[in-house]
Amino acid sequence: MGVMLLGEKIGMTRFFTEDETNIPVTVVRAGPCYVTQVRTPDRDGYAAVQIGFDEIKPRRSTRPMIGHDFKAGAPPLRHHREFRVDEADLDQYEPGQVLTVEVFENHAYVDVAGVSKGKGFQGVMKRHNFAGLEASHGVERKHRSAGSIGGGGANLGTGPKLMKGRRMAGHMGAERVTVRSLDVIKIIPEQGLMLIKGPVPGPNRGLVEIRTPTRLYKSKGRKQAAALKG
């Protein structure tokens, strides 16, 4: 089972690789994360590791949280998250242990989750990639509207109402998004930085969770399998 780190999205830049291609990368400050608690099946009913990230002043935290972090031998921390591990791997973790970006040293790919940038109330064209109506041919003042949402019969079910989940305009963004199978381009342990190919969810300075990929995209899975063999 994999490992997870919390990190801060720093920003994007470009990176020239050894074969001279130019790739967009996101710089992420990953860790150091303190293990603040180890969840065992005996006590908690499941096996997991709780980690904390981002040291803060004690007055920014609360008494209970300070105590919780203190018990693990960690300074007050801003963010706490858990990740599940196999029972057999539990003994690799102990409270107070520091996980740095080096845990991803043997990773070719990672999954990254974060809270995406909020877009506010958006129409269907931006929110759901609808095509909108025509620009001319008699269309008046409805160029970006959704069109028909179906008659009662089309998604009737039990009565003259739309079924839930009909795609319409509404609030967009500011939700948890996971981007899978991103390439790890470079790891800089001295600064605790990671370069990840392409964009990751959220604004700069936003909190991101970086995980061992649960399931790679097919092409990348094949590539990795081939790399392991060769």
Partner: protein, 133 residues
């Protein structure tokens, strides 16, 4: 360290240090390395530097030349490893930062004046050329 400084430190070792001073309006040679299979050769693209944009590792230069009467513009990432070398062939006088107006011009009108006035860093291309007031 703030975030901008972190990003700059990450790309620091990728920045080229041997780029000559190139100003807008200069005629430059761009030596592109072209890899075909396992062979590599250098192709020179000569033209007028009409724009520079971006900063740091994102900086690009746009070079324009005429090929058989048709304008060709190429935009190179300044720090790209695929560009082996930049050379300044001729200094040109430009009074603005972007020379997009050259796109509307043909023939003689595309020429830019040589720059000689009060610029000590410019190597004398034509020895004995008179300095203008």
């Amino acid at each position: 360290m703030n975030r901008q400084a972190i990003i700059e430190s990450v790309v620091q070792d990728q920045l080229k240090t041997d780029i000559p001073r190139m100003d807008i309006g200069d005629t430059v040679n761009v030596h592109c390395r072209i890899v075909e299979g396992d062979k590599e050769r250098v192709q020179i693209f000569q033209g007028v530097l009409i724009a520079r944009s971006g900063g740091g590792i994102n900086e690009t230069v746009t070079v324009r030349r005429l090929v058989d009467g048709a304008g060709v513009e190429r935009c190179f990432p300044l720090h790209s490893p695929r560009v082996a070398k930049y050379e300044v062939v001729r200094r040109g006088d430009a009074r603005r930062g972007k020379l997009y107006f050259l796109r509307d011009r043909v023939g003689k009108a595309t020429r830019l004046r040589d720059r000689r006035r009060g610029l000590k860093h410019v190597a004398a291309n034509k020895p004995g050329a008179k300095k203008k007031g």
